[in-house]
């Protein structure tokens, strides 16, 4: 559904804004913006995506090819919401190996049974 056409009724709509000082109008502008942005940023705070997870693995020392493949495996297993970086790090700690070694082992198909347990 698209918004329908509407004539320029600015002169009517502006009546209640006219009484505001410039400063009050600015304040009103930014208060409205904050209300619009608040639910958007809350969604970002509490959600993740494949791109975010790939960026985490990049930062942990994986190449872009490795990060993409690893995140693909995590998505298939429905584990993205746990945090791929966390799951790789915990595996590394449990096995006493480096983060890179843990990721490379996962790419080779190893240890998946222990992931997310």
């Amino acid at each position: 559904m698209t918004s329908s056409e509407r004539p320029d009724d600015f002169e009517i709509r502006r009546q209640r804004l006219r009484v505001m000082s410039d400063e009050a109008l600015h304040h009103h502008f930014w208060a409205l913006v904050e209300r619009i942005v608040a639910p958007l940023i809350e969604e970002a705070r509490t959600h993740t995506t494949p791109a975010i997870e790939r960026s985490v693995l990049l930062r942990m020392g994986f190449s872009s090819l490795e990060a993409k493949a690893l995140v693909g495996h995590f998505v298939e297993r429905g584990l993205l919401g746990r945090g791929t970086g966390r799951l790789v790090l915990e595996l590394a700690k449990r096995k006493g190996i480096s983060v890179r070694e843990a990721g490379v082992a996962l790419l080779a198909g190893q240890h998946w049974a222990e992931i997310g347990a």
Binding site: S3, E5, F10, R14, I36, I41, T46, T49, S55, R86
Partner: protein, 730 residues
């Protein structure tokens, strides 16, 4: 890697040891402003530190070759598709004053789910890969040493791989980036949830890495039919990205608003665009302003584009701009040619230096039409925001097509861009974080079990790549055919063979442009112009600009085509440059001899400046060596000059000849020689002509001893005179 002004940039050296290269600095850098900067005969009010190496504006020749630099950063956008060619273009742009190099991405990268690696060729830009940006940063690090000013390298953090690209940019020393989730949604059709969730992570990474963020609101100008009518919405788009960035942890001094004056003449540009620019700067006080030039109404006329861009830059000076971005004047007709990047940069710097100190002279009115329009724009923007909330918030408003409607809000035309909140590219990929969600890395946004407690989130494994760059995994090439090594084969072969080809975009592309006026009606004239270009030997001739001069009398065309010509440098008849005599040697020979020199601008020519510079003591002219100069003025008959030569016993006559209509300059030269012969003076007189269109060969053909063209100095003329007179004495 160190560059020398006389040597071309060596791409092989750039690529050498790239796997180990680290950028020498990170984050954005501003120019170093200098109050009341004294340079040559002037004091500049809005200037910054000088460059070590540069090409000054053409008129600088008349002001001691000064090259003042304005106080704002100047951007040029570069997009040839081959990064190795872009590097040369960047170097040329830096020499003309650009210190913000914006690299356009290849078409389609927005939808590439992940990073691209290697050096594949792009279309309308380059694929952003680690190798290409590392090579570019390495070249820019050398270029900024050469010119003596930091260069900000910039690209795009958008599409469905935004967070990864942000990491890549921080790791590799990219200094600024476009980031705006609204752009993804409205113009790239990416799912709105995915776009915003990714954006918060990308913004956090950019914020911590010191990158300057530029938003994407200006795209609404470029897409709207009547660009000035989207101005209320532009405030809204700027505000949403700004507030979202702040919420993601980005400080105000890293948030730049990308703003474009929306109209172009014959629209009454200033009366529409200035109120908008003022309102924006008032509503967003404290943020950074990136002033872009208008592209919406550019077609193929580069002169028209340039005038619009001068007016855009005037608006920057009347309000404010931290960054003045530039559009190449040929953007409306082809992928920008490299020398047009330079033209665009020069339009900005010429205008900005010409407007230096403007606001010491004028002030914007605080009443009347300007304030009424500023207020109206703000109120229209507030009404837009209220309607977003009334619709149920941002996602719902995008779903109902509230954005990029061509009506002047609250007017609606019903033609806005509609994006279903649950549709689009990568829909359904946003996943809720579990309570135990963790990301053990720095610069991560949102809920994270590692973000609590003491120490960095990456402490458990010795640090992430942002703390320990040694952990970065470098991939060289993935495609054995589509890579820089293969593309360099042809240029390197040309170089080895000493061959030169014309180019405008990429190495040796052979493209040339000719201007042809055809005195006929447009349909005939255009076909005729193309045929003429073909007969000149141009392959694939194409009209890139056409301008009607008169419906019956004719049109002018610019035609591009390819010429398959390579010239061999060794075979060129290069002029032998004679070393000038030293000042001391000239003066030692001239002073004891009392040598008289007659100088005049002959015929009906009133130009005097160039000749005075060659003569006058204070301009470093030949008087300083002890020549006795008799300057007779302008529009002087040749015979009068020779009368004077006889009276004073002069040994040389210098004429300046600027006007070339009907080859009058050639006639003057011939007449001087012939009259001197008739009077029996020729053998003892040195006859010289000078002027912007004069060449040495031309003057000699007319019987004179020498001709001096553009760029001549008194030193050059004096050195020649002494050599000639010594030879006559011998």
């Amino acid at each position: 890697m160190k560059l020398s002004p006389d040597d071309k940039l060596d791409v092989r050296e750039v690529l050498n040891d790239l796997d180990r290269y680290r950028p020498k600095r990170k984050g954005w850098t501003w120019r170093r402003r200098i109050e009341n900067h004294r340079l040559g005969p002037f004091v500049f009010r809005n200037a910054s530190a000088d460059l070590n190496s540069s090409v000054p504006l053409p008129a600088a020749h008349s002001f001691g070759d000064i090259d003042p630099q304005c106080d704002c950063v100047i951007t040029t956008e570069i997009a040839s598709g081959r990064f190795e060619d872009d590097l040369r273009r960047m170097r040329m742009a830096a020499w003309h004053g650009a210190d913000h190099i914006m690299v356009i991405r290849t078409a389609g990268q927005s939808h590439f789910d992940g990073l691209i690696e290697g050096t594949p060729e792009g279309v309308g830009g380059i694929p952003i890969t680690r190798k290409q940006i590392r090579a570019t940063r390495k070249a820019l690090d050398a270029i900024e040493e050469e010119v003596g000013r930091p260069i900000n390298f910039h690209s795009y953090v958008s599409g469905v791989a935004g967070p990864e690209i942000a990491v890549l940019f921080v790791e590799e020393g990219v200094n600024g980036a476009h980031q705006d989730p609204q752009y993804n949604t409205l113009y790239r059709g990416i799912n709105v949830h995915r776009s915003f969730v990714d954006a918060a992570e990308a913004k956090k990474i950019m914020a911590d890495g010191g990158l300057l963020q530029i938003d994407g609101a200006h795209n609404a100008n470029a897409t709207a039919k009547e660009a000035w009518k989207v101005t209320p919405e532009l405030f809204v788009q700027h505000a949403i990205n700004t507030a979202y960035s702040r919420a993601a942890g980005m400080p105000a001094d890293q948030i730049a608003l990308s703003t474009v004056p929306p109209t172009a003449p014959p629209a009454p540009k200033l009366s529409l665009d200035l109120p908008y620019a003022v309102a924006l700067r008032e509503l967003f006080a404290g943020y950074i302003f990136r002033a872009q030039q208008n592209t919406r109404y550019i077609e193929s006329d580069t002169r028209e584009a340039t005038v619009t861009h001068v007016l855009d830059t005037l608006i920057s000076r009347l309000t404010s701009a931290d960054i003045q971005s530039t559009i190449t004047p040929d953007e409306g007709r082809n992928v920008p040619w490299h020398y047009n990047n330079i033209a665009g940069v020069n339009t900005a710097r010429q205008t900005l230096m010409g407007l230096d100190g403007l606001m010491d002279l004028v002030a914007l009115r605080s009443d009347g039409m300007l304030r009424d329009r500023v207020r109206e724009l703000k109120e229209r923007a507030v009404l837009f925001l209220e309607e977003v909330l009334d619709s149920g918030g941002y996602y719902a408003a995008v779903g109902t097509g509230q954005f990029v409607d061509s009506g002047y809000f609250p007017e609606r035309k019903g033609d806005g861009i509609v994006r279903e909140p649950d549709g689009g590219v990568a829909a359904g990929t946003v996943v809720a974080r579990e309570p135990d969600y963790g990301a053990p890395v720095c610069s991560h946004f949102g809920h994270n079990i590692y973000a609590t407690g003491a120490g960095k989130a990456c402490r458990d494994y010795g640090g992430c790549t942002l703390c320990d760059p040694a952990k970065i995994q470098y991939i060289d090439e993935l495609d054995p055919e589509d890579n820089v090594e293969k593309r360099l084969l042809a240029p390197l072969a040309d170089k080895a063979a000493g061959l030169l080809r014309p180019e405008v975009e990429r190495h040796g592309d052979g493209i040339v442009c000719v201007t042809i006026f055809v005195p006929e009606r447009p349909p005939i004239a255009e076909v005729a112009a193309l045929e003429m270009a073909r007969q000149m030997g141009l392959r694939k001739p194409e009209v890139i600009a056409r301008r009607l001069i008169h419906p019956a009398e004719g049109s002018v065309f610019e035609i591009k085509g390819v010429i398959e010509i390579a010239v061999k440098i060794d075979d060129l008849p290069l002029p032998q440059r004679e070393m000038l005599l030293s000042d001391a040697e000239i003066e030692a020979w001239v002073r004891p001899r009392s040598i008289h020199v007659i100088a005049a601008t002959p015929g009906a020519d009133e130009h005097s400046v160039g000749l005075r510079e060659i003569l006058d003591l204070k301009h470093g002219g030949i008087e300083r060596y002890g020549f006795c100069c008799h300057y007779l003025g302008t529009s002087v008959p040749i015979d009068r000059a020779l009368d004077m030569a006889e009276q004073t016993g002069a040994r040389a006559v210098l004429i300046s000849t600027i006007i070339t209509h009907g080859d009058v300059h050639l006639q003057n030269m011939r007449r001087l020689h012939e009259a001197a012969v008739q009077r029996g003076l020729r053998k003892r007189l040195v006859l010289i002509a000078g002027g912007t269109q004069v060449t040495d060969d031309m003057a000699r053909e007319c019987g004179l001893d020498a001709g001096f063209g553009r760029g001549t100095t008194g030193h050059g003329v004096a050195s020649f005179l002494v050599r000639q007179l010594r030879a006559l004495e011998a």
